[in-house]
């Protein structure tokens, strides 16, 4: 954990390390869900998508358990300084991860609808977005596992690339949809999928910013550069 060395109280150390482990576990499940989503999309697999959607329940349960752990830690330890920041940071990170779980789940619900549509021409762009968001999310998990807040800056820069990719895809698909009415239904689902992936990138950045906050105490991350619509 962040903080120079161990507490005098070993049970406090253990509680913090259990909390850390729960968040890492949440990250591992999300990573798994995410990888399976790419396969489900690429191979038009309804089974794979359904499995991912079911897994989201595990994420929700873990979030509840993490909030309970944090509540107990605050009540028992009345943390100060870096411990207080770690608990506030972990509360936020658990929330962002829970949102990522929802977004992945929603991508898969749309994937099931898309299976009966022909989307070969747009597939590659979406797969690219998938993998960009995946890289970013993995990096934010690394950032958490290593408590390396310098990585936060890298995550932040990469998020900008995803935003660009998303805007580009959005504009192109919109143009195609206005020319080709049979694209409207699958196109709309694809726009939502792309938006959800872009949001996953945002939450990965939020996670990295929270780690930065835990380490430095700076609540407000510098303004993120934005791509105009």
């Amino acid at each position: 954990m962040i903080g120079s060395h161990d507490h005098i109280s070993t049970s406090f150390n253990n509680e913090l390390s259990n909390l850390n482990e729960s968040l890492l576990e949440m990250g591992r499940i999300l990573e798994n869900m995410y990888e399976k989503s790419i396969i489900a999309f690429d191979q038009k697999s309804e089974d794979a998508s359904r499995e991912v959607i079911l897994n989201d329940k595990k994420i929700d349960d873990l979030e509840t358990s993490i909030i309970n752990q944090i509540q107990m830690l605050i009540a028992k330890r009345q943390p100060m300084g870096v411990d207080l920041r770690v608990l506030v940071g972990c509360t936020r990170i658990a929330g962002y991860m829970e949102r990522i779980g929802d977004l992945i789940s929603s991508v898969n619900k749309r994937n099931i609808i898309l299976i009966e549509h022909n989307i070969e021409n747009e597939k590659k762009d979406i797969v690219d977005l998938f993998s960009s968001a995946m890289k970013l999310f993995k990096k934010s998990l690394d950032c958490f596992a290593r408590k390396d807040f310098k990585l936060a800056e890298v995550v932040r820069k990469q998020d900008l690339d995803i935003d660009k990719q998303y805007k580009h895809f959005f504009n192109e698909l919109l143009e195609k949809m206005s020319n080709e009415s049979k694209l409207v239904v699958p196109g709309t689902h694809m726009l939502f999928i792309a938006k959800n992936l872009e949001r996953i990138g945002d939450h990965a950045t939020n996670i990295a910013d929270s780690i930065s906050y835990m380490a430095t105490g700076e609540v407000q991350a510098p303004d993120r550069p934005k791509i105009s619509e």
Partner: protein, 255 residues
């Protein structure tokens, strides 16, 4: 509006008990009408420093000090100073409630009487009532003012001691672990009282309870081995302190 000039200024202060140095070269300014908390492990010098402010250390023969402590413009350790007068300006509340073995009324009336702060009985009655009211104790004791001060609960006794301290209308109140012998409810009442007293008094409190320091004070000073390690806004000291030593102490990592 708070005064810009500090109420107490400490410069290059060193304190020795015989050959053992207890305080090393401390410089700090205490703001007027604010609560300043002193924290740090046992033996860090926080109580020693507190006791310098009204020269309670004079009672210890082997205690020697050099450096300067100013109360406004008054040099506290000047040879010319009237120590009794100093202690009416800088009152003190101790760890264990220590009411005099007298009535509740006499406990509060004692200071104003011996310092001749009142002309007649009705004025004295007024001071006693006002002090007990400021200490949040009036309603609880107004019908038993002539019962012994030692006969009320520990929490009430401590508030009686605070009423006794404010009866001489001091400028500064020093509190040395004022709640460590009290239960949580009595503690909450004393903390509430500290909060209301800061409108009129400059308060310095020594406490081992970090959450208490965070709750009641605006400034916090952290001491270690006789040195002032960090001194700043309480909000900052307890959320992101500058020094690693402070961080280790407030998070319980001192080993």
């Amino acid at each position: 509006m708070s005064d810009i000039k500090p109420k107490i200024s400490v410069s290059n202060l060193n304190v020795f008990y015989g050959s053992k140095q207890a305080i090393f070269d401390i410089n700090m300014s205490i703001n007027s009408k604010e609560v300043t908390a002193f924290i740090g492990p046992s033996g860090c010098g926080k109580s020693t420093l507190l006791r310098c402010f009204n020269r309670m250390n004079d009672l210890i023969d082997i205690c020697k000090i050099n450096g300067s402590i100013k109360l406004d413009d008054l040099e506290v350790y000047s040879k010319k100073i009237d120590i009794v007068r100093l202690r009416t300006r800088v009152g003190m509340v101790f760890q264990k409630p220590n009411p005099f073995p007298k009535s509740i009324y006499d406990n509060v009336a004692y200071g104003p009487k011996i310092h001749g702060l009142c002309k007649d009985v009705s004025e004295l009655d007024g001071i006693v009532e006002k002090s007990l009211q400021s200490a949040g104790l009036w309603e609880e004791v107004k019908d038993r003012l002539h019962e012994p001060g030692t006969g009320i609960s520990g929490g009430q006794q401590q508030r009686l001691c605070i009423a006794r301290a404010i009866a001489t209308n001091p400028e500064v109140i020093l509190m040395d672990e004022p709640c460590s012998a009290l239960d949580p409810i009595a503690t909450a009442k004393v903390e509430e009282l500290i909060d209301s007293l800061k409108k009129n008094f400059t308060i310095i409190i020594v406490t081992h309870n970090m959450q208490q320091a965070a709750r009641v004070s605006q400034k916090t000073a952290f001491f270690h081995l006789g040195a002032l390690i960090e001194f700043g806004n309480t909000d900052k000291v307890f959320t992101s302190p500058e020094k690693e030593k402070t961080s280790d102490y407030i998070t319980g990592r001192f080993g």
